[in-house]
């Protein structure tokens, strides 16, 4: 589904990715681990074409992600749900509206929005925060809202960048279970994390990064 071919990303004074080559098959659950600054977030940015690589190509199925025109890129992004490390919630919109906006983007009807939003907010335990703005929510609540937004449109791929960084163990466990369930239903999941416990409990493929390079890629199967 996703193909990285010799991808490098070099910022002015930092090498974030160096000659990355790997493949993610449809339906896989891949965890990416590594020290802070190893290049995990940069790697996810490549898939969304949030930034262009300095070198190499990234394919989503047969699409060269960085060759897309803006219209087609928009279409591609609708197929991917992302939990950003820094949440990237719409600060001017309530929890409800944040989810509704993502649904509007893919062209859902008012009825679908009215029935699905409360549902997903309940799933991430935010029913009591429907009309709160992001700045009126705790870090963990914001993070769960970001997760709700990422999964609401049942995307083909979910990229979760450190989605449990601000959550307590109970919440972390719940979120991981949700991601696992979504994956069981056929969605591809890419998860980055620092949390050893999460990786152990998942028992799935783990890619380890260091200084912008992949140093280990262990495919564990149950």
């Amino acid at each position: 589904m996703i193909y990285f071919n010799n991808v490098s990303k070099i910022y002015k004074d930092a090498t974030a990715l160096l000659d990355i080559t790997f493949t993610v098959e449809a339906g896989e659950f891949v965890s990416i681990v590594g020290h802070s600054g190893a290049g995990k977030t940069t790697l996810t940015k490549m898939i969304l074409a949030e930034e262009n690589p300095t070198d190499g190509t990234v394919f989503f199925e047969s699409i060269n992600v960085h060759k897309l025109k803006s219209k087609d890129l928009t279409k591609l992004r609708r197929r991917i749900g992302v939990v950003f490390q820094d949440y990237k919630l719409l600060s001017n919109k309530t929890a409800y509206e944040n989810i509704a906006f993502a649904m509007e983007a893919v062209g859902k009807t008012e009825e679908e929005i009215a029935s699905d939003v409360p549902h997903v907010l309940e799933l991430v335990d935010l029913s009591h925060r429907v009309s709160h703005f992001p700045h009126e929510m705790s870090g963990g609540e914001q993070q769960r809202l970001a997760i709700a937004r990422a999964i609401i449109n049942q995307p083909e791929l979910i990229i979760a960048d450190e989605p449990t960084g601000n959550l307590d163990p109970v919440n972390t466990h719940e979120i991981v279970q949700i991601l696992k369930k979504i994956n069981d239903l056929g969605t591809t999941v890419i998860l980055t994390t620092h949390n050893r416990g999460v990786i152990d409990s998942l028992n799935k493929r783990v890619i380890t990064m260091e200084n912008g390079k992949i140093i280990r890629d262990t495919k564990t199967s149950k």
């Binding site: 950003f84 001017n92 509007e104």
Partner: protein, 307 residues
């Protein structure tokens, strides 16, 4: 489906405006100032045109005929003058009318009347009063009166004098003043409007700068350009509509005051003019306001929509 999208964009615009709070009202204020400048220019133009019309109306060219000039030749000249595209009107005062006018004017001047009676016959000739459509066209009319056309009508002999030559200098000067006045007015209008547009554009850009990050995020979650841009453009239109209403409300008491106190000075009752052209002014302001708001928003969002 397009209807739903449209509704969402409109609703989004109102929400943007409402949540913008003081920033939205700052934008309304700036657009209002621009619209006030436009209204002032419209009113100023009215005063300018009215004064120029007044002055222009005072200018004319008179052709004096010799005493006893035959009526049919005078009528022929009058007809050919009336056919000139430059001529607005031709007034004929016959010799008899001229005499009657002279008598009424000197009613109480006994010696003059007596002298007139003593002559026995009418010492006055008739005359034609010609008004041109534009002040600049009097030269052409005077040229025509001296040209072969007129001679071929055999009327050269009947023309005693044309007073254009005496007035030529005044008319020329007036002409320069009017055309310079219009040019200057146009230039000032242009400069003022450009400045207002730049200020408004930058203010609206600032209001959108606040949402810079959100615009990027919207793109990342797969929103189309129109879905992102639309609400900002609607908010821009709301600035324009509110500014129009405020401007119209402000100018109501202002022109009322001008009408009460300055009509003599301006030569025109501003309040009457404002009411008479209300619909026209309303349309100009509304269109300018909405266009300004929408286009500024459109351009401002475009800057943050890179991919």
């Amino acid at each position: 489906m397009p209807m739903t999208k449209f509704k969402r964009i409109i609703k989004g615009g109102f929400i943007n405006f409402k949540r913008g709070g003081i920033v939205s009202w700052a934008a309304v204020l700036v657009v209002t100032i621009t619209l006030c400048v436009i209204t002032l220019i419209i009113l100023f133009q009215a005063v300018l045109h009215f004064s120029l019309d007044q002055v222009e109306n005072k200018v004319d060219v008179t052709v004096y005929f010799t005493v006893g000039a035959p009526e049919d030749q005078i009528q022929a000249l009058k007809t050919s003058l009336e056919q000139m595209p430059e001529v607005a009107s031709v007034d004929y005062t016959s010799a008899d009318d001229a005499l009657a006018l002279f008598r009424t004017r000197h009613e109480n001047d006994y010696p003059t009347i007596q002298a007139l009676d003593e002559i026995g016959e009418n010492p006055l000739g008739g005359y034609l009063n010609i008004k041109a459509k534009q002040v600049s066209e009097y030269g052409d009319i005077a040229n025509f009166l001296q040209s072969d056309n007129v001679l071929s009508l055999n009327s050269a002999s009947i023309i005693d004098k044309v007073d254009y030559n005496q007035n030529e200098l005044v008319i020329d000067r007036l002409n320069t003043i009017i055309s310079n006045g219009q040019k200057l007015g146009f230039l000032i209008t242009l400069i003022l409007i450009i400045i207002s547009i730049i200020v408004t554009f930058n203010t609206i850009r600032l209001t959108i700068f606040i949402s810079k990050e959100e615009i990027g995020v919207m793109g990342l979650v797969g929103a189309s350009r129109m879905h992102i841009r639309g609400p900002f453009m609607i908010a821009g239109a709301i600035y324009g509509i509110l500014a129009t209403i405020i401007t119209l409300l402000l100018f109501w008491p202002a022109t009322l005051w001008l009408g009460h106190n300055m009509t003599a000075f301006l030569g025109i009752n501003m309040y009457d003019y404002y009411l008479a052209s209300f619909f026209q002014i309303f349309t100009i302001l509304l269109l300018s306001g909405i266009l300004l708001g929408v286009i500024s928003s459109f351009l401002a969002v475009r800057k943050y929509l890179n991919k």
